[in-house]
């Protein structure tokens, strides 16, 4: 009996000792979680390569990747914050992090990222800021542009527009009309979800939508001729010129790509991310594409809603998390990530790195050259913007572009919708 007791005491002591020995070893290092919506093959590979490099160089501050679903990041983060189990670092779009910053869920990064400030255009930097503090480090962003089938242009004897700030909305409309022949439409435009695009492109005509952002009463919505210019021009191309394929109106942004590759349209209007798909077609079948200069109204500036990297205020390792973000923002890393997504990297160095990597591609060069034409979109600073966009603007724009409501009704719905949401 005594022997058994002694044995039990010995076993218990050994167990406690083994735990005691293992604690310092575990406590010496930390593990941070990085939530990313990366899903494309190239971006996933780049993310894993970058994280592996970091982990190799920082054995005591390891990063673990957690993949999120891009379409449900908001829900995921909302519940994670509420439950105090938020990831240390996460990637999300600038317009959506504002509410988290307002609720105090994000750690300010202005000091930690001060070395990056001079390398990021101020418009982008401000998009990730709230009350003069940076909460989301802008990493990459998309532009909306016209992609052209170079062979179709050559065949028609039409020169491909080049340069920066040279291609106007009127030029675009004329080109679309020119290529609308023999039962073919000049352009395909995936307009299933037109809300964000029309607001971003509206900046070409100085559309502000929201005013009084810093007033105590909060932002107010104003819909004037500048705000209605883009919807009106698209509508004219659909119904007056009949130069946009009506079948494409209900497609997603990337929907018209197969038709474009098959030579059905000379041009498509889409976000820059489709360049990744066009690259596949170029490699496999020698498809000859390019992107045209950003459309110009009064300016060629587009509103930016970049992807951002943030640190959770709940993180116990904020300094290391910020260091990891700086590592991700290194020129080669950010350039590689952005190209994988078909997006424009935010820092001047990473933009140069991307440009040198895509030297032979005229389309990519144009996309990257135009990266400087991105400005602060006021709507990203408005708390209820997402709700208004999804529940009011989106359905109203869809109905307007389908010819179901007039432009006066479109304006009325936008204003009434904002009143009810506020």
């Amino acid at each position: 009996m005594k022997k058994a007791k002694l044995l039990a005491i010995f076993a218990a002591t050994a167990m406690v000792a083994s735990v005691a020995v293992s604690v310092p070893a575990r406590a010496a290092g930390i593990e941070m979680t990085y939530l990313t919506p990366a899903y494309l093959k190239g971006t996933v590979a780049s993310t894993e390569r970058i994280v592996a490099d970091w982990n190799k160089a920082n054995p005591l501050a390891q990063v673990k990747i957690v993949y999120g679903d891009v379409n449900n990041m908001q829900d995921k983060l909302t519940t994670s914050f509420a439950g105090n189990v938020a990831p240390d670092i996460f990637q999300h779009e600038a317009a959506s992090i504002l509410s988290f910053a307002q609720q105090g869920y994000l750690a300010p990064l202005s000091t930690e990222m001060r070395t990056l400030k001079s390398t990021i255009p101020s418009g982008l930097w401000n998009v990730g800021s709230y009350k003069a503090k940076l909460y989301g480090v802008p990493t990459m962003t998309q532009t909306y542009t016209v992609f052209a089938n170079v062979d179709a242009f050559k065949k028609a004897g039409v020169p491909v527009p080049t340069g920066t700030g040279t291609f106007t909305w009127d030029d675009y409309r004329a080109l679309a009309k020119k290529f609308t022949t023999d039962g073919k439409y000049g352009v395909a435009w995936g307009l299933r979800s037109p809300a964000a695009m029309t607001m971003i492109m509206g900046m070409n005509f100085n559309a502000q939508f929201f005013r009084g952002l810093t007033t105590s009463s909060g932002a107010s919505l104003a819909v004037k001729s500048a705000e209605l210019e883009v919807p009106s021009r698209i509508s004219d191309m659909i119904y007056v010129d009949k130069s946009i394929d009506p079948a494409s109106l209900t497609m997603s942004g990337a929907g018209p790509v197969p038709g474009f590759l098959a030579g059905k349209y000379a041009m498509i209007f889409s976000a820059s991310y489709i360049a990744a798909d066009l690259d596949i077609a170029t490699k496999a079948a020698g498809f000859n594409w390019t992107s045209l200069p950003l459309l110009k109204g009064k300016t060629n500036i587009q509103g930016a809603n970049p992807q951002t990297l943030s640190v959770s205020a709940q993180s116990k390792n904020k300094k290391q998390a910020a260091a990891f973000i700086r590592f991700m923002m290194q020129d080669a890393n950010l350039g590689e990530l952005a190209l994988g997504e078909g997006l424009i990297p935010s820092t001047t160095g990473s933009l140069k790195a991307a440009q040198s990597q895509k030297k032979g591609s005229a389309g990519w060069q144009q996309l990257l050259d135009d990266g400087s034409a991105l400005g602060l979109a006021p709507f990203t600073l408005v708390g209820n913007y997402q709700k208004w966009k999804d529940t009011v603007l989106q359905p109203a724009m869809q109905q307007f572009l389908q010819g179901k409501i007039s432009i006066t009704e479109l304006k009325k719905r936008q204003l009434d919708g904002w009143k009810s949401i506020r």
Partner: protein
């Protein structure tokens, strides 16, 4: 051949034709999904899609298994769906019997509670549920999901089984009692065999719901090791309608197989239970 037989034969031809059409209608999306999973990215970018792939591209399957952890997600989903189904059946069968056979007041209150529990939208309960699961230490655990799915599945399972029990004539149980059978014998030898189709239907319903559920898993699961199949599949879709169609089709095809197998295994029971009529001869 008699006239009746001839008539029956002529009636069978359109019946079989209708069945074949229905099978094609149901099976075609599955076939399309399978052939899509064998297409290369460049083929999937072409405008004119064909049913059969121009070349077999196995890389979609290699990618989802090796790089996206599909096998681990499938394993988690299977464990969750099987455990939820078993637990739901264990709780719902006796409870369903009790609700159907006990006093009207109790039955009314119980069915009222079941209905009320279905009224609240998921978005309303998700954060309190998240907190509760976290408090009991089951956040980011497949057992936490089993618990949540069990709670979510029970009301409907009870409702279904209550209906099945109610359809079994009480006279049969009384006849058993008259013949000297104990309560347990009545349940085991009379009620249970007649309840088999109901149990199978409820189990299938619970299994499929747990297998396909997305939102609770999205919120309650944090680490890749505990991910379920719908979460893994959702990661093949990007914003603005972007989608990795080849890997998504491959993943969706593999994800459908267990459901089909479960249905294949249980459908005989579903039919046999229905045929096990109370009155024979």
């Amino acid at each position: 051949m008699t006239t009746t037989k001839k008539k029956r034969k002529y009636f069978l031809i359109p019946s079989y034709f209708a069945v074949i059409c229905y099978v094609i209608f149901l099976g075609f999306p599955f076939l399309w999904m399978f052939t899509t999973s064998l297409k290369s990215p460049i083929e999937l970018l072409q405008l004119d899609q064909t049913l059969l792939p121009k070349g077999i591209y196995w890389q979609n399957y290699v990618d989802i298994v090796e790089k996206r952890g599909l096998i681990n997600s499938a394993k988690n989903s299977l464990v969750i769906a099987v455990c939820t189904t078993i637990l739901t059946t264990i709780f719902a069968v006796p409870a369903g019997y009790a609700i159907a056979r006990l006093s009207k007041v109790f039955s009314g209150a119980a069915t009222g509670w079941i209905l009320i529990s279905q009224v609240f939208p998921v978005s309303l309960v998700i954060i309190p549920l998240f907190m509760a699961v976290r408090r009991v230490g089951l956040l980011d655990s497949i057992w936490g999901l089993v618990l949540v799915y069990l709670v979510a599945a029970l009301p409907f399972a009870l409702w279904m089984l209550k209906g099945y029990v109610a359809s079994i004539p009480l006279d049969l149980e009384e006849a058993g009692a008259m013949d000297g059978a104990s309560s347990f014998q009545i349940l085991r030898n009379i009620v249970f065999p007649l309840l088999v189709p109901g149990i199978v239907a409820t189990s299938l319903f619970t299994f499929l719901n747990s297998w396909n559920e997305f939102f609770f898993a999205l919120v309650l699961i944090q680490s890749p090791e505990s991910e379920t199949l719908p979460l893994t599949l959702a990661r093949f879709m990007g914003s603005e309608g972007q989608v990795l169609l080849g890997p998504l089709a491959a993943g969706a095809f593999l994800a459908t197989i267990p459901s089909l197998l479960v249905f294949g295994l249980l459908q005989k029971k579903l039919a046999s239970g229905l045929l096990a009529g109370a009155v024979k001869g």
